[in-house]
Symmetry: C2
Subunit: 346 residues, 2 copies
Amino acid sequence: MADKKQVRIEDIGEFGLIRRLTDDIVIRHPSTKTGIGDDAAVLDHGRSQLLVTSDLLVEGIHFDLTYVPLKHLGYKSVVVNLSDIYAMNGHPKQITVNLAISSKMKLEAVEELYRGIKLACSQYEVDLAGGDTSASLTGLLISITAIGTVAKGRAALRSGARKGDLILVTGDLGAAYLGLLLLQREKKLFEEDPETQPKLDQYPYVLERQLKPEARHNAIALLYQHQVQPTSMIDISDGLSSDVMHLCDRSKLGCRIYADKLPFHPETESVAEELFVNPVVAALNGGEDYELLFTVSPEDYPKLHDVADFTTIGHMVDQNEGYQLVLSDQSTVPLVAQGWDGMQSE
Amino acid sequence: MADKKQVRIEDIGEFGLIRRLTDDIVIRHPSTKTGIGDDAAVLDHGRSQLLVTSDLLVEGIHFDLTYVPLKHLGYKSVVVNLSDIYAMNGHPKQITVNLAISSKMKLEAVEELYRGIKLACSQYEVDLAGGDTSASLTGLLISITAIGTVAKGRAALRSGARKGDLILVTGDLGAAYLGLLLLQREKKLFEEDPETQPKLDQYPYVLERQLKPEARHNAIALLYQHQVQPTSMIDISDGLSSDVMHLCDRSKLGCRIYADKLPFHPETESVAEELFVNPVVAALNGGEDYELLFTVSPEDYPKLHDVADFTTIGHMVDQNEGYQLVLSDQSTVPLVAQGWDGMQSE
């Protein structure tokens, strides 16, 4: 690689860069009539409803390039958007990608980022259908819009939960946040002593959950397969506390969440112990798990009871009962939304 | 205003900010089933095709807050996206807005920006259906996605032009670039002598074209009214040279553009004279006019001949004839794409 002549972005210009980044993009959906290369993508969706979501990742706020590999970053920036489509009980079909690139960034770096974007597109079978690329005076910024479909009447809104509904979560919680703490610890050690070798290979699970999270498309398939329409749904991006409160807020309800029901991966628990962090706190306030949090009516509950990937963690109550975390001794503490907040620039 | 207590963005948090910015948003389209407040907007489009486009505006690259009022900036950032939908012969319906905001930016400033965004939504009858707001370590960044519809078979792609097609343009050219030159001149004078009062009120037209451009929705209505399907279409964002070359490139054709046919506003001509700029050069390379450039078949041409807002500026030729600008003495010079390039950070 080192002897490959380096092409500078200035030399190929914006159009050259876009062409270089998008030349090999494959269109997967018949509904993508025209992709990149025109003023707008042309999509053609038949009888289903359309879902659109947009997310922004800013260098220094949402990611730190000193420890986030660019390919992972590209992958993750797509996944977080697809996760929002799944959180509506939908199926993502297309994305558009807007990038603001620092002039210091090398073409190879942008291509590496795009490799991650394209890998996610291929893994989740979505089409990269357009976007814009611009210079940035400082860091890298990635803004992605995802478009998906959902059968009419099947969209799972945040507002549909009813009193008595069970609260379920997919997979396990808290791992992404512990992965971040590990990366931050290694960065600090490295800054203090550049000779230090990072000790990361014994934590593959929590690091992957932070660096290369997956969106829970299989949960949507499971719900469909078990013929359950969730009454409300959201993905866990800000932390369980914040996100369950979004469901409550929109549904005008309160909730009771049971601390000892929260699902953890064994590695999450051992890293939590090593870092002196309570895994419950990591789950509640850490964020970035991209698991799905949803409610189902008590009648539907038996259908999901045996699904290994779903854990029941609580139920919805009257709004005036507030948001309660029930501890193992049956005492309760109020949940507080202090999730990972993109507005806090530290 | 001065005695109004200033609310800081840090105090209200991301969710507070989003709520504050979006509380008063009105949904206009029956197709917007669910707007802001869920993981994704739910759109429902019947039998038409869907158009999606995305654009990025970066402080210091695309705008300079020392002379661009925030409300105008918000308005313009929507308009440039809608322009891309019109350039497909479509009708915009929804937008999503992603903002990265410097921590130094006051809440009132963000609200002023949003006032412009909402004004454009109301003027063009589109719904603000979602988006994301984040901190930025430096300047302001605006990423907008617009979604529109077009009847099946009616999308005007860049690739559809045929040899012999006439090239038409809406409105007039070069004004936005001259507006920018004026603003840059005044900024320089102000930096040299802060006592200087800006002399801008004698140039209302070119300044408005730069600061608060409009998208040519009326041109789409005119084409429909005269029953003309353009064979190809693009909006002029990078300059006539670049943009006509995009049509040629995609349609595998060359073109002949007649310099003395290019439409100019009288004020554009007088400002050009004052600034020693050739208005033809401003039209070719200036960009940001957001006029529509389109081709029609010779059979359709008589239907549009009398439309005052359309000017015929050339025709499409064989690819091997290249891209030619025909001067008033009938000599030709090759067109060069050196449009306004968002990748050049100066």
